[in-house]
Symmetry: C2
Subunit: 126 residues, 2 copies
DNA sequence: CAGTATCCAATCCGATACTG
DNA sequence: CAGTATCGGATTGGATACTG
């Protein structure tokens, strides 16, 4: 389980609660859109529309939905400028930046084993 | 995009193809069940039923589905022992092991920022 | 034991329309 | 511009039954 090393509490019930919460966080964040958004925000602050352009293929709806989720979990900071038309900027927080390292790692992994994976798919499919 | 550093080819069409393939791999693998399976296989080889017990909450169907996907992408090796009843063992390949480092990173991240995230959620929900 | 196939509910997600 | 709400089709995923 994700929290097997989280042993601050010795209370059984608390451990279970913490466990399910950790699992929830994990399930929230471990999805492709969240990862691609985090990757895009890595370079710095972006507006909603800039993000939509940068994360190719994402729909308006998925972008808002995932941004809310990331904001709720404290990975991105949402700053609204009270201008007209409104300007909303998204920035990675410290936890968000920390997770970016992981996401970067996965991108590197994709490049590194690209050929290997492609070959494996051919073998499997044929 | 995920493959922005993948520049072995100078051909535009190939780059596009590689890009979409990289995105496909990324989308395949960046999901919670795949991550939890990889994490579970980190300690070593496991049978199908052992995996189902270890990855709590996963259904029979999701486990087979994700194992096939991981096998296709060359992250896990599937070894069938022709006994009766059958014995099937799953092991991480080199690319699988490499990705495990990334997944481990995410687990560490969850523990490290657990309190931060919990607090952020409270702030957001209230 | 491991795996496939099927059914059906839950959810995901895109398109569209509407608001401040 | 950024966001919410809604609808309906597509996909996901669990439960169950069946096979070698």
């Amino acid at each position: 389980m994700v929290t097997k090393q989280l042993n601050a509490s010795t209370d059984e019930a608390d451990l279970t609660r913490a466990d399910s919460l950790a699992r929830e966080i994990f399930s929230d964040v471990a999805n492709k859109w969240a990862f691609l958004i985090i990757e895009s925000l890595g370079a710095g602050t972006l507006r909603f529309s800039e993000l939509r352009d940068k994360v190719e293929g994402i729909s308006h709806k998925m972008l808002t939905q995932n941004l809310r989720m990331l904001e709720r979990n404290g990975l991105v900071d949402r700053k609204v400028h009270p201008t007209v038309p409104p300007r909303v900027e998204y920035t990675l927080t410290e936890p968000g930046q920390a997770l970016r390292a992981t996401v970067d790692g996965m991108c590197d992994w994709t490049h590194r084993f690209f050929g290997h994976i492609e070959a494996s798919r051919h073998r499997f499919d044929g």
